[in-house]
Amino acid sequence: MTDTARPSEPRTSDAATIEKLVGPALVSRFHGLLRAARIYSPSNQTFQDQMWDLLRLVDQVMEGEVLLLAMGQCFYVNGVRIRADASQAAVFDALTVEFEQRKLGGVRFLEGLRSEELAVFLQLMLERPDGERAADLPAAAAAAGVVNVAAVTLAETESAGAETSAADEPPPQTERERTKQVFRQAVSGTRQAILHTARTGKPAMRRIKRVVQPIVDSVMKNEYSLIGLTAIKNHDEYTFAHCVNVSVLSVAMGHQLGLPRTTLANLGLAALLHDVGKLTVPPEVLGKPDQLSSEEWQLMERHPIEGVKIVARAPGLSTLSLDLLNVAFQHHLTEDGRGYPRLGRPCRLSAATRLVTVADCYDAMTAHRAYRSRPFTGYEALRLLLGPDRTRYDVAALWTLVRTVGLYPAGTLLMTNSGHLVISLSPNPEDMRRPFCRVLARPDGSMPPDAHPETWDPMPKDMTVSRVVSPEEFDGEIDRLIAA
């Protein structure tokens, strides 16, 4: 802002402040100013007062720019959805109408905005009451020398709107579709929650809770349906899918252990944020395919402490806080104090940590790594986790993992004694050696068509797995088959 004659509030990027205080005020003030501009001339004191109020609010949340967007039936300020209380609903509705009539998505305020510019912009906006006439608003503003406030067109908000519209997408018809929707929304929600955390340094607890609740419900309803989706590794947003995977696996493992619903939710949350401390590690260190130098490794080893610092910023003190702290701090430690951060004495690992550690290792092993030709398959990862070094993990946690992903995790290619080549889709809790499968090739070499897939629910009792087939021997897209 260049108009500094009046006192300004300290700047904030705190989401809660924007959401509850500055955001609603900014929406109301902008609407009020628009109304005032209809009635008063820019020199009128009432108009001036309202404009100063708006400029003060904009200045308070200025981060290079302030983006006020109307999407769906909600407003967003700098990406934070504004919670309107009931008394503000009418104002929100009215401003939504103002934008909709002009086919605008919102307004962008830039650093250096002057009151004169804002007054001219509002006048230009009012002179263009519909979409057709508002189309030239950017050009008219530029011609009038208005550079620090601009209209955001609907087209500009479409990409972001795609996410919010997913919020109100029609309910899926089948269980499988429902599960996919849960997973998709979990990844999307996690993405936003993690990015929010990266920006503010505080975990977005309300948002993360909302991400985990459907996961818990889905796991409790049909445990294996969601687990299958964690085997997909070529996800567009694998960055966030890994968090979701660890969360899903941990929740399912906790469910195997008989943990109650709210405990599962806490576990899922702690799992989702277990590596949040890595947000403080430089990307070039995180992405380095080569060996890390000792300095770089020191940075890596600090991420559990950094995680503790971040989760400690979440409000309150509850069993959830404790799970978050424990998992963030302990997930690279062993009971005898090995691992990092270097403790040098035995450590009492929490039950949540024991589960998350195993889930994390399993999902990390089965993920792509730049220094690995391909990720381990679930089967290979299990062979390593359950191999001679399994003592470093909690045996019960390993068992819950096996019960969760199965002896032949989703995506494992199996050759049966009958000569069928099948792909494991989900575990069979009755008999871990006979999973639910999809037939890829029959003994005669024929293949069931994609349109009419042949599935075994589960593998027939007269068949056994004779061999686990390496992905290198198979010329198909395993992820696509799992996702189908």
Partner: protein
Amino acid sequence: MTLQGRSMASDVDAGSPAEAAAAAEAGAWATRLARTFKTCRLYDGGNPTVVRFREDLHSALRELLTRHAPLTLTVTSRALELSGTAVYTAGSREDNLAAIFHRDGIRRITFRPEITQGELDTLVDSMLHVTGPDAGDDDLVTLLWSANLSNIEFVAAPLEGDIEGGGLDDAEGDRSMPWPHGTGAATASAGGSAGGPADDDGRPRSDDCDTLARAGDLDQAFEELESTAIHEMERLQGIHEEELQSSIVTRCIETLTDCLATETTPGDREELARFIPRVLREAIVTADWPAAHTAMHLLRQCDPEWSSEAFFQGLAGASSASTVRELVATLDRQGDEGVEAFLALANEFGEPSAEWLMQVLAESQQQRTRRPLARALATLVKNNPERLLAWMHDPRWYVVRNLVHILGWIGGDGVTGYLAAAIDHPEFRVRREIVAALSSASPEVARPILMKMLTRAEPRLFAMIVHQLAHFRDDSVVRHFVEILRGAEFQERSDDEKRAIYIALANEGDDVIPSLEQEFARGGLFTGGLDLHWQSVARCLARIGTPAAREALDRGARSSRSGVRKACAMALASLQTRDD
């Protein structure tokens, strides 16, 4: 917020007559829900009106559900709809029941016929919670999800808060994320063996998760695990159970202690120093004194400069009466040992804990807790009693009395100014405590205050003040007592008051004999009703018992007034008896 709303079913074509009827009934119930919400907002939960509104709301819903079950309402920002028909529309921007659901993402809400009163109450309570002043961090969806209501189902849109990645664009956001990226995968040629993908040998890598080197026979491992699974699962469940049994504070301290045992930086410790007060607070409000002690030491380990001043201000400000009452109850249960530990902790915190101790003292009902607490407070604020003065204006008389008691314990002339400020307190027990507290002050300082109090004192306090003033043996006090004695209204005073003055004067010795003797001449020609007064005066002289006093009595025994003669004769007789 007022939530009258409008039932809309009658205004809208709701299709078939059955649908219209359902919409009308649902609308009536939604309006009832709005009214109940408003009533619950205004009055507390135990209010009979609130109870009745809640019961009526439940019975109305049960009745509605007998005809139209399940009842699914679709939520928009300003309306509730049944099968596309608006059954409730916000009357104004302040009367918007739908907004409470909609703003947190609830889009559909379904009521099942078996719905219980408790479930419906939970819904209303959750609505009250999220719209109340202490809404906390959980939204309506999370509250209802946590409540796990069998007969109220809802569909919620995910919280899509940070559009545009909360300030980072996609590419930048993903690039800075710490987890493996799907797109960067498998850059090497696919040359792995069936035993697993090719892996470089070197460690450490950016992938911080241990990739174990040795694979085993999975079938065999599975069998081994299966054979011990029941036992191992029970063990892990046991760990979880044990965690549930131990307090959050204890476990949190354990984790923080571990954390601080690693190589933490000053920045880490600074950050933890911002968190630990929460643990300390929880330890204090749950009366876990050893944990509070440890938490305080951790805090000082993280921040040697830490001052408990702000902490206790926050604690005193944030503690509700019920929290304090709960703590006091625990303290009472813990007995002397608990109180001792509590006070030892307070002592370590020093003066800043005084406010908090006052809160506890205010709620404490047991003498054995109150007494050491007051004593500890006196020690804590000895050099700065001003910090408790705000409590002097507390509406609870016993709190003011506690404070006066503490000031009395601190004693000395320094506190008399604070005591003087409360001499007009309406409660007798406070003023009585002030008189007692002034006993530790010097006569020069205490006297003016007591004299001031004496002029306004009720009988039971009057005697106490007189008694205390008498100890000062001061001429001005004696003169004042004599003035009282001579006052026209003296005979109107209560026996206790009169007795106090007589005794006080009797203790003054020869100096007051002339004044006492003058009383024998009181009354003029009509002396009715003074007999008892003369008897008391004569007894005073007898109590002085000096030769001068005896002479005065002798003169009285020769008085022309029979009442005086009689009184003095009796006094002389008692003196004689004493002498014998």
